[in-house]
């Protein structure tokens, strides 16, 4: 008799049952351990190096040899690292949802038009109100992002070929908005341009607890929702007609999941700028590791995404010290070849 491929949890006497791919607990644990390792190494590295054990002690607010550690770790580096991980996880989940809804493994969270809307929102704010405080940037990104997502949804969702229509409308609108952005950017002064471009690249520079707290409500609502929708995502992954035949309330689920994806992407972009490729790559790696069933793959995808951004931010900080390269660029350097590999593989299999 073959070893079962899943864990079945079915406690006796209680009407609760749950099933998980056997690979998931091991992979998840390995990723968490790796993430913790990278976090500690990341936090201990920099102009003011700190030994790993001291890092852990400082995080736990235990006594260490040097009282300066507390500032470096708990105020400077830890919130930045945690923000990196959180944003990576959010983008990975958003990307996974888009890939499942569109049944297209090359889909990314940008397909909802959120990235284009967010960058346009920020640019318009900086151009129209040059003296505005930096604190309003995330808000304008969010408003712009969700606004465009809503517009694309309203324009595109109609009937059974909606996923394709949405991708096309999204691409078209993104192109149009990018053109508008370029026109605007050509007309403003160098200083503000630098600001905007830096923001657009996606960077964790100077990210602090306030950024993490800004992300918290979005995470608290949409991460559990996305993870809990695993069953529905499994059905939707088979196609909307099959999902309807299985009794899924497809229209409602599709709308709610799109909203979730747009919200997670918009919130992430609003705090760190546009970080590409994470939402594209992480779900793929997760599926390779634990298979396509969403109960496991979504959670693993979040861990992979978090690890990816965390490691990229670390590399950007440490590799060319004292110069910092934004995490967005490191991810693009890794992501672009991976994307080409995906294209080649999908072409080869046809």
């Amino acid at each position: 008799m073959m070893k079962p491929l899943w864990f079945n949890l079915r406690p006796k006497g209680v009407a609760i049952s749950f099933r998980l791919d056997r690979r998931v607990p091991l992979v998840a644990l390995a990723l968490l351990a790796l993430a913790f390792g990278v976090l500690v190494w990341n936090v201990g590295t920099g102009e003011y190096p700190i030994a790993p054990l001291d890092v852990v002690k400082t995080i736990l607010h235990l006594e260490t040899a040097d009282p300066a550690y507390d500032f470096v770790v708990n105020t400077l580096r830890l919130p930045r690292a945690l923000t990196a991980f959180t944003v990576g996880a959010m983008l990975a989940l958003a990307g996974g949802v888009m890939q499942t809804l569109t049944r297209n493994p090359l889909a990314s969270p940008d397909l909802t038009g959120v990235s284009a809307g967010a960058s346009l929102g920020v640019i318009l704010l900086l151009v129209l109100f040059p003296t505005v405080s930096g604190g309003l940037l995330p808000l304008s990104a969010l408003v712009g992002g969700l606004g465009v997502a809503a517009l694309i949804y309203a324009l595109a969702w109609r009937g059974s070929d909606s996923p394709i229509r949405m991708i096309l409308v999204g691409i078209g609108l993104t192109a149009a908005l990018s053109a508008v952005e370029s026109i605007v950017l050509l007309r403003i002064d160098v200083e503000r341009l630098q600001n905007i471009l830096h923001w657009l690249t996606g960077s964790l520079y100077a990210r602090s607890w306030e950024h993490l707290w800004a992300l918290a409500p979005w995470c608290a609502v949409f991460i559990p929702f996305t993870l809990a929708s695993a069953r529905h995502l499994n059905a939707l992954h088979l196609g909307e007609e099959v999902a309807t035949g299985l009794g899924g309330r497809v229209t409602f689920q599709r709308g709610a999941l799109l909203l979730s994806s747009a919200a997670l992407t918009g919130a992430a972009i609003s705090q760190v700028g546009t970080l590409g490729f994470v939402g594209l790559i992480a779900p793929h790696i997760a599926r390779r590791l634990v298979g396509p069933m969403h109960e496991g793959s979504q959670f693993v995808s979040a861990l992979v995404g978090g690890l990816l951004v965390l490691a990229s931010d670390f590399a950007g900080r440490a590799l060319f010290a004292p110069t910092e390269i934004p995490a967005g660029i490191i991810i693009a350097l890794v992501g672009a070849p991976f994307f080409i590999y995906l294209l080649w593989k999908s072409h080869a299999s046809h």
């Binding site: 073959m2 491929l5 899943w6 079945n8 949890l9 079915r10 009407a15 609760i16 049952s17 749950f18 099933r19 049944r103 493994p105 009937g159 059974s160 069953r231 499994n234 059905a235 992954h237 088979l238 196609g239 007609e241 099959v242 309807t244 035949g245 299985l246 009794g247 899924g248 309330r249 599926r287 390779r288 298979g291 396509p292 069933m293 109960e295």
Partner: protein, 281 residues
């Protein structure tokens, strides 16, 4: 035994009417085949029966209840649909695909009960896929893959199965494999099957009840002998044919001779003579 029928059903795509005020009954516990030329509305009708299309007018009734009033999850426990050319996600195993059929029986807390497990085992056994259960669906042959999808609809444990062209992209061996399976399911389990078929001879051999559609209207319906006739085929397909009883099975066997317009094909002019010859005149 559940009865699926339509009452003054009208279906349209983007304001183009395909089916108008159709009254149709599919006998419960039997295999019904919808046949007709491309664009006659047979797939549209099947999708309307499966609530994939909202009716413009009229209703589809399952055991007397209009299906659009039944909550979709409850309906999914009575009616299953296998659309045309379904695609499975990459990297999914046969068992994982089949277990998706349990969706309408699962909930927040009950995500994998004993009943779910048993239904999947049974579906895999009925379709002969137990040895292949842990294989990736991508690595299966066309016939095996179609059997896996059918197994998924079986795991749903519905009284009625709807299938849209289940054999169209399969070679002869796989076509027979799938049709034999459906026939067995009907005989052994008493499930009602309604399917769209292109091949008239397959329909005549495997279905108990045929419905011939043309331009959204039912031209003929009934036993294969009543529907597969030269007159019906002429009217529905504009094809001249010879219909003889199958030498072994007795069911009607359709041998197409040529398009109805005699000038178009060299054989067309000789059809009357050939038909007469065949009938031994």
């Amino acid at each position: 035994m559940s009865t699926l029928n339509t009452e003054h059903l009208s279906l349209s795509y983007d304001n183009t009417p395909i089916i108008e005020t159709l009254n149709l009954t599919t006998p419960s516990g039997e295999i019904t085949a919808l046949i007709g030329p491309n664009g006659c509305g047979k797939s549209t009708l099947l999708r309307g029966l499966a609530r994939l299309l909202k009716p413009r007018g009229g209703a589809v009734l399952l055991d007397g209840r209009a299906i659009h009033t039944v909550p979709t999850r409850e309906l999914a426990r009575q009616l299953s649909i296998l659309p045309q050319a379904p695609t499975a996600p990459e990297g999914i195993t046969v068992r994982e695909l089949v277990s998706q059929g349990r969706y309408p029986h699962q909930g927040w807390f009950q995500q994998w009960s004993d009943a779910d497990e048993a239904a999947v085992e049974k579906a895999l056994t009925l379709t002969g896929l137990l040895p292949l259960a842990d294989r990736l669906v991508d690595t299966l042959s066309g016939g095996q893959r179609q059997r896996a999808w059918i197994a998924m609809t079986l795991a749903q444990e519905t009284g009625t199965l709807l299938l849209d062209e289940p054999t169209t992209y399969l070679d002869l061996a796989h076509q027979i494999e799938v049709l034999e399976l459906l026939s067995q399911l009907n005989t052994l389990e008493g499930r009602t099957v309604v399917m769209v078929l292109h091949d008239l001879n397959h329909a005549a051999r495997y279905a108990h009840h045929l419905v011939a559609l043309c331009g959204g209207e039912v031209i003929a319906q009934g036993r294969p002998e009543e529907v597969i006739t030269e007159a019906v085929i002429r009217q529905v397909f504009q094809v001249e044919s010879l219909v003889i009883p199958h030498p072994l099975l007795g069911t009607p066997l359709c041998l197409p001779l040529g398009r109805t317009s005699a000038e178009q094909s060299p054989i067309g002019a000789r059809i009357p003579m050939l038909s007469a010859l065949a009938r031994g005149n």
